[in-house]
């Protein structure tokens, strides 16, 4: 078994374990209802980790895009594309949870709140990243244009992260830097559950990243082998 496959199995196993721990914590260890938000606060434990993981996946695209522009090595373009795809997958899951939470707490399916709107822009922008890729044939040109979007697009991710702090928004801010350092204002058991869910999503993202890059490499290998048979 190759090292990459070992990583894949290790990350998948870790993700399964931590997800189980996170779900047990969410439904059995944390308070049933939290003041004002009620039972729907249970969505929080996986909703926020998904938002962070989606940002991490887009950061992979940012770093790989920079690496491609510096080295011109197409392997970085593969990593950038995979990062963007995973960011969108976690983004889709995040929006699904978010829309249901919005409906249950605010009574509407969607509101043009700065946080929600800016995240929608992020999703549309990374969607455009794939539209652009499919419209250019030359591999080098495709990678160069995509890298530009991969780098500039991260500005929208950063804006989404800070939007609740710089703009008037109804979206709650749970974590902030206070006088005594990093403050969350949530109970110990809630924090443990939240961290389990967050590391579960990181492990799942890492497993999917390794799987997807392996798929891309195997596809290239298959093309190479077909050429050798044909030639």
């Amino acid at each position: 078994m190759t090292l990459r496959m070992r990583f894949l199995y290790a990350f998948t196993g870790l993700a399964a374990l931590l997800t189980t721990a996170g779900l047990i914590g969410t439904f059995y260890k944390t308070p049933l209802e939290v003041k004002e938000i009620g039972f729907t606060q249970k969505i929080f434990y996986f909703h926020v980790p998904m938002a962070i993981t989606s940002g991490v996946a887009f950061a992979v695209t940012l770093l790989a895009s920079i690496a491609y522009l510096v080295t011109k090595d197409l392997k970085w373009d593969v990593w950038a594309r995979v990062g963007a795809e995973l960011g969108l997958v976690f983004g889709a899951a995040l929006l699904t949870m978010g829309i249901l939470w919005t409906r249950s707490t605010w009574g509407v399916w969607w509101t043009w709140d700065p946080r929600l709107t800016s995240y929608l822009v992020v999703v549309l922008l990374y969607g455009a990243y794939f539209v652009l890729r499919s419209s250019v044939d030359n591999a080098g040109e495709k990678a160069r244009y995509a890298a530009s979007i991969g780098i500039l697009g991260y500005i929208t991710v950063i804006f989404t992260m800070v939007s609740t702090r710089i703009l008037r928004t109804a979206h709650p801010v749970l974590f902030k830097l206070g006088k005594s350092g990093f403050e969350s204002g949530i109970e110990h058991q809630m924090l443990i559950t939240f961290l389990s869910a967050m590391f579960a999503m990181f492990a799942l993202c890492a497993a999917l990243l390794v799987a997807k890059v392996t798929i891309e490499n195997l596809s290239e290998e298959i093309e190479d082998l077909k050429d050798r048979i044909g030639g």
Partner: protein
Amino acid sequence: MVLKEVPLATAIAYVAAAYIGIWVILFGYLLSMGSKLSGLRRQVEVLTEAVERKEKSVGTRA
């Protein structure tokens, strides 16, 4: 935006829908990756054998 109080049964339905929704998306994606990966690995094995057979036959003829 005013917070809306919903009955517990309705809240449970929203939470269940949210969790089912994300696991359908994430596990669906994970399973599709897994099946694609195993399919490609099988294809690489078959093609590698074919290349080896071809190279052997070329070597024998030479």
